[in-house]
Every structure is written in C-alpha cells, then in structure tokens.
Amino acid sequence: MAASGTRVSSLRPSRPGSPLASGLRRLRQATATERREWRFALVLLMPAIVMIGTFVAYPFVRGIWLSLTDTVVGREGEFVGFQNFAKLWDDSIFRRAAQNTVLYTAAATLLKLTVGMVVALMLNNLLGFKRILRASMLLPWIVPTVLSTLAWKWMLDPTFSILNWVLFQLGLIRFRVDWLGGPVMALWSVILVNVWRGTPFFAITLLAGLQTISPEVYEAASIDGANAWQRFWTVTWPLLMPVTMVVMLFSVIQTFADFQLVYILTGGGPANSTHLFATYAYQVGVATGKLGEGAAASLAMFPVLFMVVLFQLWYIRRGEGGVKKRGA
C-alpha cells in the first residue's frame, strides 16, 4: 500500500539499536492508515498469541520460577535464587551431559547436513521414481520416534544385533561390536540413530532448494572451466545457504533437546556416557522428584540454544536484507 512517500522510510530502522525502542517510537508517530494496518495485523496475530500465551507463556514462567526454588514434588518450595544452577555446575554428571549434548548436536547436525546434501544432489539428478523415492525416504521421519527407536534397540542389542551379523559376514569384524556398551561407542551409536532419523528432512528440504537454482548458472560456471567440485562450492553452496541455515536452525534446536531417543536406547548410560540435557533433567526432576533442580537442568540449555538461534536468525535476516535491497 503506497502510503505517503516519507513514511516509506519507516521500513528501515532509522537508527541502529533496539528494534523495540524504534518500534515504540514509530507507534507514537503513526498515521491513521498505519494505525489501521496495525490493528489489522494485531487481529491476525491474535489467534497465535492466544494459543501460545495460554499454553506456553504461563508454563514457561512457572518453569522459570521452579528453577529458582527448591520445590520438591508435593511441597511448595522457597525461592533460592541461583542455587540450583550452582549445584548443577558442581555436578559431574551434569557437566558430562552438557559435554555429550554439544558433541551429539554438533556431530549429528554435521552428518545430517553432509549426507543430506549429497543425497539431495543425487536426487536432483535423478529422472525416474521420484514420488515413491521421496515418500519412502520420509519414513524414518514419519514413524513415531518411540517405535523406530525400539526397533533400533533390537538391531543394536549385542546378543541379537543384525548389524554385527552383517559386518561379520562381510568380514569387517571378528568380534561383536558392543554398540551401546562402550563409553565412546554408545554415544556414536545414538548419533547414528539420530542421523538415520533426521537425514530425510535435510535431504528433502535441500532438494527443494537445489531445484530453485537454474541450470544456466551451472552452465556459466562450467564454461568458465569449473569442474563439478568447484561448481558445488562456488555456485551451489552459496545459493543454498538460506535453505541450509533454516533447516539447520530447526534441526539444531530439536537435536539439542532430544529426549526420547536416548531415553529408550540407553537411559543415559552406561555410566552416564550418553546422558543429554533433556534426559538428565528428566532424571533429576521426575525420577527423584526434585522439580526445582530438574527445571534448572531443563533451562540450562535455554541460553545456549537462544544464542545459537539468535545467531542463525541474524544470519538469515542479513541474507534477506541483502536480497531486499537488490530486488526492492
């Protein structure tokens, strides 16, 4: 809606600084048409705000409150400030869980990205079987996590592992692998299952991104003498960056907060080598009834997640801003 020409400048923040402050400023300097637009926007946003406000805001605030008290199931707690967090910091198991979570998220995301990218590239070049291939590839993502993880448990059980059998038949191992028993092996097995479950999401989404790149760009690059490897890095990768960041954003959040997978496969063991934030928080909060400490453990992930998210959001916005300036 072409409003008065001078107002267009309100589309750009007039000063770098808090968007909240500039927003409030603009609120005060609005025109009638703008106010109409804002009312309309507010109406549109109402359903989402109501749903989220009712069912997330209150529990979230209560959760924060819990983490600052010494609440135990059945007994109201008293405010204790950051004592729970201090306790966690001292807790060797918590530190291990933190370490595991970072490793788990980093490794799983990188693997999913790599494999997903390779698969997307391949699918992009494939001519037939498209629909059935894509649908069947989504299966690991669709099947309820609980159930597919149980199947993996069966496949990784040292007494019955079909993986051991296959590797043994192929001559690649002489003794069975204890997938979920070794201190390092267990975490990597869990990462493996997570990668199995999450790669389809990456692959399909990256595929979509690939299909937006017109072949002419590739042709131009090959005319310039680039080989396949170089074409990927100079053309494909940069153009896919927005998609990649969006997918990675959601994947990182989910992987970081992963619970069911580890809970079912190992329960955090052996000897806490696969505990993640979420499983440890559950163990502390629910299994021992110490809700305050459990809430603190759950929220410990929040600052880190928040930073990761902010960074990615900034990166995405930066990309968008650039596009806007060019396209405007």
Binding site: T159, G269, P270, A287
Partner: protein, 445 residues
C-alpha cells in the same frame, strides 16, 4: 479366570472376553445394588456413594496378563457392589512416575496410584494417611515383612498400603551346570566366579545388566555390596559409609568377574536384555524375576525344562536381596479418599487377593507373612526360591532409615554406575571415590 498360570500353554490374552478388555474396568454404573454389601467393609454397612462417582487407579502394566485381567474383573465387581465406576489404568513402570509427578503438581489425577520402591517416601507430601487400613490388614495377615513396611511407612504413619514385592533370584541352566561338572548351584560369590568361569569357557557366560535400567542392575549391585559388608549410609541416615572396606572388595571382585564370567555386552543391557539372552540360549545364569521361566514355559518349553532357580550368592556378611516393592497410595488431592481406601481394602482382602496371587504364580511376593506357607509356592518347586528371597531383603539406603535420599541415589544410578565405571577401566578405588562423593552430595543436602 484365576487359573494357575504355571501350566498354561497358551498366552492368556486369547481367553479374555473382548468386552471386558475393551471396557478396561469401567463398571456398569447405575444399578446401585445397595443390597449387596461388600462383606469386608469393617463398619459392616455399605455407605451410599453418589451416583456417577468415579474411582481411578493407576498402576504398572503387569507382566502376567492373567493377573491384570483378574484384577480388572475384581475392580468391576467392587464397582458394581458399591454403585460406582472404577477405572483401572495400566501403563509402563517408568511412565507411572511421570504421571504421578504431573498429577501431584496439578493436584488432580488418579485417586490411587501404585508406587514402586520407596516412592511413598519421596512423594510423602502428596499422599494421604492410610495407617488405619494398613495396620488392620497387617494384623489380619500375620504382620508385614520388613521391606514392605520400610517402603510404605514414612515418619510415623503409613502413606501407602503394601501390595507385594517383585521377587528375583538367580536363574540358571541346570543342564549346562551339570555339563560343567557342578552338581549344585554355587553358594558364595567366589564359588559363582569359578562356576561362571568354566561356563564362559564353554561358551555360556553369565549375564548381568550394568546399564541404566530400573530393576536388574540394582538387584545385582546392591546385594553384592551388602553381602561384603558395605552399605550406603550409617544408622543416623546422614553419614555416608560407602567407602568402608566391604564395598571395595565387592567392586574388585565384580570387575574380575567381568572378564572371567560375564557376557561383556552387559553394559548396554536393560531389564529385558537378559531375558532375551537367556531364552535365546546365549547365557547360562542371570539374576532375574520369574519372567524368564514363564515366557519359557509359554514359548520356549525346551529351555524352561532345564531352567531352575537358586538363592542369591552369599558373601562374608550374608546373603541379601534387593526387591522392588509395590504399594498402593491414596493421593491427598483425591476427592474420593474414603472410597479409595475401601477399594484397597477390597482387593487386599484374602478373598480377592488369593486368586490374584495364584494367578500371578509367585511372580509377586505378598507383603504379609501369612502367605509364606501358601501351597501355591510349593506347587512348582522350581518357584520356591522366589518366596524365600523376602526374608533376606533389605531396603535401599541401608543402614539409614528408608527415605527420599535413597530414592535419589537409586534414580541417579550411583551404585550401578560405580560398578559400570570399574568395568570400563576406572580403577575401583577411584570409582568408589566418585560414588561416595555423589552420595555425600545427596545426603548432605
């Protein structure tokens, strides 16, 4: 319906009338037959409950389907007699904790929840006083076993009515034991090591879980420590005593046993893995409840034929067991506390409990002493060792009083991890030091 499961060849599921199963335990409310007075109500007269009263009981799903079916039928009967609707909900054991936490915080949910181990201590603030009921039942049935009482008696009152204990003992293959040249099951841990060594060399290792699982790893680790004189905490309930001599010995022995006799997949096992491995003929000995034997009789009769049970091994300080107790607690937030207590009274009464106990075929040990001489225990002599385990059972957090802190230590798998770490290569002294430090953190809070 209360047939002895022991000799059934078909899984009982097929015999449940579908209607019963589908309806769960929702009794037909309405036809309030106040004429049918439940004979067990102490007051001698059925109080009238408003039409539409609902009673909700939450419990873990039973390994033996026949037990569940019978219990649900009994619940329906109770509902019919009292003119109320009784709902029996069964979910996985771990999930009970999740649900009860949410229920207590929200102050609404099931009226009765069946808890495992010393959860009544942990959730003391959310449970109603049931002392009158528990005491009455105890008097009638010959008194409670120490363990049953320990886990349900908090402070100075009963916060739950003991329901039973999941027994566990050493399950073993008679044929392989004979083959290895031993005529009877070893009595001490040292002897077990020798026998196990021989068996492992024949390709039949001993199986034991050391992962993060609720029952099996604890059933091995705690008694092992106790048998060598070690224990978590002193009588005062505050001073951590784990690092006294006994524990280290047990730890070292177990670590040696790992290479000698254990199936080395045990670190990644959970409660069900040893069942599977035993039934697959992959291990020769394991500590477990009667579930292996029952599934064996049902599906793997050749293995069940050569399976037998023996008491836990003995150490210099004695022979001990860690058994998981179950108790029924009435929730404080419940609006039907009186009705709930009557229901508990109903199913704990001999008339209802006995058929259930028989249907369960000694999978669970009743909490009171009067059942010790029940013929069901000796009907199949292979199952008798399960009965005796209750005599040597000890509560968690020994030698201190049973309480929430012991629960915390259990939930954090401190004992199990101590053993697991030693197996994975940490020197036993260090592993012990870690466990002691963790316990100190818990007990000093």
């Amino acid at each position: 319906m209360g047939t002895d499961r022991g000799n059934a060849t078909k899984r009982d599921w097929g015999t449940i009338p579908r209607r019963t199963f589908l309806k769960g335990a929702a009794a037909v409310a309405g036809a309030a037959s106040l004429g049918g007075i439940p004979g067990i109500v102490a007051a001698g007269q059925a109080p009238a409950y408003p039409k539409g009263t609902k009673l909700h009981l939450l419990t873990r799903i039973n390994f033996i389907p026949a037990g569940d079916t019978l219990f649900i039928a009994q619940a329906e009967e109770f509902g019919r007699q009292m003119g109320v609707e009784v709902q029996v909900e069964r979910i996985g054991e771990n999930d009970v904790t999740t649900r009860s936490t949410a229920a207590i915080v929200a102050k609404s949910g099931p009226d009765i929840i069946m808890f495992q181990n010393n959860f009544p201590h942990l959730l003391a603030n959310g449970l109603a006083d049931v002392s009158d009921l528990a005491e009455a039942l105890g008097k009638e049935q010959g008194g409670y076993w120490d363990l049953s009482r320990a886990n349900a008696y908090v402070g100075k009152k009963w916060l739950a009515v003991p329901y039973g204990c999941l027994s566990n003992t050493m399950n073993y293959r008679e044929d392989w034991l004979k083959e290895a040249g031993f005529s009877k099951f070893p009595d001490t841990y040292e002897e077990l090591r020798e026998v196990g060594k021989k068996l492992k060399s024949m390709g039949h290792p001993v199986g034991q879980c050391f992962g993060h699982s609720v029952n099996d790893p604890n059933s091995w680790c705690y008694p092992f420590v106790w048998a060598y004189g070690g224990y978590e905490v002193e009588k005062d309930g505050k001073t951590v005593a784990l690092d006294k001599k006994g524990t280290l010995e047990a730890l070292k022995l177990n670590t040696a046993m790992w290479k000698d006799m254990f199936d080395e997949g045990g670190l990644s096992w959970d409660d069900a893995s040893n069942n599977r491995a035993f039934l697959a003929g992959s291990i020769s000995i394991t500590n477990n409840g009667a579930s292996i034997y029952f599934v064996g009789k049902d599906k793997f009769p050749d293995i069940a034929k050569v399976t037998n049970h023996a008491p836990n091994p003995r150490g210099p300080a004695g022979r001990y067991y860690h058994l998981a107790t179950h108790s029924s607690a009435v929730m404080k937030y419940s609006k039907n506390q009186k009705l709930a207590k009557e229901f508990i009274r109903w199913y704990m009464d001999k008339k209802q409990y006995e058929p259930w106990f028989v249907a369960m075929s000694s999978y669970m040990i009743p909490p009171t002493k009067v059942w010790f001489d029940h013929p069901a225990w000796t009907k199949d002599p292979k199952l008798t060792p399960f009965r005796d385990s209750i005599k040597d059972a000890r509560h968690l957090g020994y030698a201190g009083p049973p309480g929430a802190k012991a629960s915390e230590a259990l939930a954090k798998y401190i004992m199990v991890d101590m053993f697991a770490k030693a197996i994975q290569g940490t020197p036993p002294e260090e592993s012990l030091k870690w466990a002691t430090a963790e316990l100190k953190k818990i007990y000093s809070a």
